[in-house]
């Protein structure tokens, strides 16, 4: 099931709607990294609210996506990790190190706005 990617100003927002297979996750990573260049995006938000399980493969793919996007000049925020999913992730030892997470879409946007403002000021 493909994940719809919404372009909003300088950001790309991907909302996962249902359980994803490994192939769906790989395609999402590829599409986002490509679109960061295509739309000159400064931020990527991946909303995982509807994701049933975050196992080692999903966590690794999202971590890689965040690192790849950063190399292309965009910050990534993972939003909507549910409490039970967070619990399972910690038990599995998946900490998503080096990846920013926020409670929900609103918090994710606030984070990106702050980050991109800082960057503009630094110029």
């Amino acid at each position: 099931m493909p994940v719809p990617i919404l372009k909003q100003r300088d950001y790309l927002i991907a909302s996962i709607q249902a359980a994803l297979s490994d192939e769906d996750l790989r395609k999402l990573r590829q599409a986002l990294v490509a679109q960061v260049g295509e739309f000159r995006s400064r931020g990527v938000i991946v909303d995982v609210t509807a994701l049933d399980v975050m196992d080692s493969f999903a966590a690794r793919t999202l971590r890689d996506l965040a690192h790849m996007s950063r190399l292309r000049g965009a910050e990534t925020v993972i939003v909507g990790i549910q409490p039970e999913v967070a619990f399972a992730m910690v038990q599995l030892g998946l900490t998503l190190q080096g990846v920013t997470a926020a409670l929900d879409l609103e918090e994710g946007l606030t984070y990106l706005n702050r980050k991109t403002r800082q960057r503009k000021r630094a110029k």
């Binding site: 297979s21 490994d22 049933d52 399980v53 690794r60 039970e84 030892g93």
Partner: protein, 140 residues
């Protein structure tokens, strides 16, 4: 609830061959866990363990199956997850079930993680014959 659990004493077998089967297996596992009365959190732990076990089959053995059974032990409901494959087997079991070991570019947490997610964990593996992992979780 009881009767449903007893009805489900038969194994549900999900064949594992391609990566979409991983999703099917963990969804069936979650449904079974909820049916026997596990909380949403425990059902997610079980579904996550199934996801890891099913992925190991796709990655290392190409095909196998996940068998799910609802059980009861002295009035306490539980779920048994058995992951079977006829793959190459695991040469160094101790290393494979310790954290940090992986030959597939994963995070190397697979089996050690499954052990933490479930209450009981057994693994039998023979090189050239295959691997069977049995994991159980009991309702708190």
């Amino acid at each position: 609830m009881r009767d449903e659990a007893r009805d489900l004493a038969e194994e549900t077998v999900v064949p594992i061959k391609v990566d979409s089967d991983i999703v099917t297996a963990r969804q069936q596992g979650r449904a079974l866990a909820s049916l026997v009365g596990f909380s949403a959190t425990d059902a997610t732990l079980i579904a996550t363990a199934i996801s890891e076990l099913a992925r190991n089959i796709v990655l290392y053995a190409t095909r196998g199956e996940i068998a799910l059974t609802a059980v009861e032990n002295g009035g306490r409901p539980g779920v048994i997850v058995v992951a079977r494959d006829k793959g190459p087997g695991i040469p160094d079991l101790r290393r494979a079930t310790a954290g940090g070991y992986s030959t597939s570019g994963g995070l190397g947490l697979g089996l050690a993680g499954v052990r933490r997610l479930m209450d009981e964990f057994e693994i039998v593996s023979e090189v050239g014959t295959g691997t069977t992992v049995t994991a159980r979780k009991w309702k708190q």
